[in-house]
Amino acid sequence: MMRVPPFKYVAPKTIAEAARALRDAGPEGMLLAGGTDLLPNMKRRQQTPKVVIGLSAVKDLRASLRGADGAVTLGAGLSLTDTARSPLVADAAYRALTTAASKVATPHIQAMGTLGGNLCLDTRCNYYDQNHEWRQAIDFCKKAPGPHGTAQREVTHGTCWVAPGSPRCWAVSSTDTAPALVALGAEVTLVSADGERRVPVLSLYKNDGMDYLAGKRRDEVLTAVHVPALVGWRSTYWKLRRRGSFDFPVLSVAAALRLGPGGVVEGARVTLGSVASCPLEVTTDALVGRPLTDEAIAAFADHAAKPARPLDNTDYHLSWRKRVVREYVVGALRELRGDPPGLLARSAARVLPVLA
């Protein structure tokens, strides 16, 4: 990996200043929160912003509160460690979020990386997340810019080596917190120099490895995450990765359930992560209104696995990743039903005790 290329650094103190700085920088500007995604990308020359707008001095980005309606607002600048530990989301209803945050990369990266940064995480691909020389050896790809100044040519003409006949880029959405927040029905606030708006988390994303964050304009700052009050809900997050730490997800299942009397499902939301270029929400009509039997879970899992389309651009063989989707959905729902954890749960949903 090379060193970070030279750039101009801007350090706004307020959200408004940050939004203005981003607008003023234009296409040459990028936001830097924890830096755990952007800085390695800059070292690999995947992104070479001329202006980097650092958000660490913007205190308002770390403001969190519980509203009168019970809904929780988390500042997008909250570290992943602080997100996982926040008393505002300590309830079992928010377990999907706290588990997801505590399973991002490593404890060190959780301490630096932010909730907002993880939502905006660049999509990943084994043809893309390589240094400049490696990408030169494959003559670059659609998503990865070539040498200085040729980015535009690459963007329009490069090949996607994952699917050479395809017009689009198939890099994988690798954020842990987005599937969790989608399953919790969360929204985000986007602030630009012109104003602010609030949109569902899912609407940030598009199933395109390059234009994956199509729901956020380039001049907008993601400032806060809003999670509704979830009375009677419980949720979980299952993450597939080869090792117990470090690795990005190559499949994740976020599930939230509200069980009524007699174990009848009153509400259910299931989201798949890392099997497309965006989180995939699964329709849960088949689950609602009936008890969560083994048969119901199995039938739902077959349905849920269908839209997953893993390709050969992450760890593990793609057909196996596809196959495991079903087992992860089954496991997550069984966990929410209260089944004792089996072997898969112990790796997929393992949460380490947080050290004070």
Partner: protein
Amino acid sequence: MSPQEHEGGSAAGQHADAHKVSHTRGGGPGGAFNVVGKARRRVDGRAKVTGQTRFADDLVLPRMLYMKLLRSPHPHARIVKIDASRALAHPSVKCVLTGKDVPIPYGILPVSQDEHALCLDKVRHVGDPVAAVVATTEDEAEAALALVDVEYELLDTIADPEDALSKPEPRIHDYGDDGNVHKRVAFEFGDVEAGLAASDRVFEDVLFFEGNTHLPIEQHATLAAVDENGRVVVYSSTQTPHYLHRALVKALGLPGARIRVIATPNGGGFGGKSDPFNHEVAAAKAALVTGRPVKVSLNREEVFYCHRGRHPVLMRFRTGVSHEGKLQAMSLETLLDGGAYGSYGVASTFYTGALQTVTYQVPRYAFRGCRTFTNKPACGPKRGHGTVQPRFGQEVQLDKIAVALGKDPADLRLMQLAQAGDLTANYLKLGTIGLRECIEKVVEGSGWRDKWQKLPYGKGVGLACSSYLCGAGLPIYWNDMPHSGVQLRLDRMGGVTCFCGATEIGQGSDDVLANMVAEVLGIDPADVQLVTGQTDVTPIDLGSYSSRVTMMAGNAAIQAAERARDLIAGPAAKKLGIPRDRVAFQDRRVFDVEDPSKGLTFEEAIVVAEAEHGTLGTVGSYKPPQSPAKFKGGGVGPSPTYSYSAAVVEVEVDPATGWIHVEKIWIAHDIGRALNPVLARGQVEGSVYMGLGEALYEESAFRRLPQKLSRANVHKFPSMLEYKSPTTLDMPEVVTYIVEDPDAQGPFGAKEVGQGPLLPIMPAVANAVFDAVGVRVDRCPITPEDVLRALDDKAKGGAGRVGPAAFPAIGWPEPLKVPPPWEGGDGTAVNQKPRRSRPAAAGK
């Protein structure tokens, strides 16, 4: 006796014999051990944990320049033209080197002199260096790489051994057996086909072991400078400063006395820093050209391009057994993917067939091995060098044999263990063998008898054993000199300085030297000043490879220390007025063994000795015993003695996904004697850790693009994120048993521990997976994908196996036929052609 009198060392021990420590006796009174066997903090531990240790990249010299290497983006291409004029015009660039500036080839083995510091005419893998840019800052050197214009003519890519066997052209090298076959070797120790025909059962298995890499935390770095006397001094993270020295002499065309190599402490090596590397030669050349210090620090991707890691090996075992499971005959064929250069590859090829006979009695044995060239970074020696892959195959096959015959795999092994002192079918002379105790320990500790074939579906245990060398019996280049030398200097202030060429790569070689000297002289290891791994200051040690340092430098240190002890004992006895044979050394005192209150401090004893003899210094050296193998190729495998290991692994496997969880590992290692039990345990646990990575995760996998569109052949993921080495969270509980069966060859009976304990882990995991869910994964790493595919196969009525289907036709040469000792053999081949005069360093 004055220091001059024992110059040359070979007159050694004449009068030292009376006091000579043996493998059963220590240096203290009555043969008690002063230091050996005591758990101690290692002598270099403090500096390492406080950050005082200076690794190569920590070194800075005034006016230092930085070098970066421009690397090939093509797997196989001819270099048509290199134009560095734009780079040279860059104001901070001081020098640009290309292949013609350093045109002399070199290589670690005399028979494979096929590397250039910078590619001369061809590039052979993505990452092969074509130019070196030297500038005042690293960033500017890096930026100026883009200003070197290289024109290539692309050649067809040879991607794997199948390619290499089927496409003799284009040749990657114009030497080697033929086409893209680097080397074929074939041996037969007894009539194996007859042995197989006479066996009650014959088991045939084809298995594959994927390549993997060392992944040391410290990336390679080199600082080269011209010193005040005009000599080139090269500081480098190398495991083999002497061999680097030799390569520099050749490649730079300078006399050895004009070059100094200083091995800096290695932040991990595992075999990956045992070759002379292009960046080392290029930095030295750049220092000569510019007259300024030049540093090159590789980044992680570049370390993957240096590689020299585990060879991918396809292997076929045909093994005949009696109804009881006794081995009757074994035939092994191996096919190695060598990558783009020779490296240690010829030795690696021999090693894939060397050690099949040292754990169990094999009456007849045939081995055929073939190494191919491919357009990938060169493979070489990684921990367990060449023996790891066939050990995986052998131990997995033994498990299959046990299951097929209805035998407990532990019993199957115990009934036919090799015996101490045996001469094997392939003429390896064995020392002590603690393997029985190793097996018994792990069987008992793990509750094997209550678990094997008795745990519920989804849980299982697997057992495997192994053995490894305690130092290669022959050096890399032919010579009759010692393999390791030690000089001791004793001063009147009580100081003892130990000079030795051995290289500290984290394995504890410094600690072993201090341990040996302190044991014999009755002082504290911390009192021993160590000067190691500097070719102009320290006596030669061949390097930190083949688990040789404890054996060889340790014995050399003992010899030097015994001689020092002799120098001190006489004058001390005189001073104390006692007979010389009553002098004892312990607790920094030299005293009367019958009246310990009567004595001198160690310092006082040196003063009387120096007064009598003059300046005090001694030397010691070590050369391994001669091997009984006299046939050509018999030089790979012999060792003064062998270490033994046994492991039981317990796993849980999820039948729905194939997910593998390693629950616990029990491992026993026969180390002969543990010189420092803390370090020994650390080596065992470190081996288990590395072995688990190889068993479950790690692959040096390569990616080809659609061949209609591209000839690219790239390492799939040259990064620490995507090359999956286990984390602390993936490490199970490990129960370690140190088995001590002292060996007469070893220093105080010690054998190796740095490599052997890695070997049983991979086959034990494979065998445990079978015990858990009844399927065989005949390839390594063993991944959940493979387990699930095997389960699918079984569900459809198949054999429940995943692995290679067949072994390709190689075109083996007529084997060298060497009758085993029990068939009247004497270690020579009955059909050996008269040996040609020893090949000179064959250029290409």
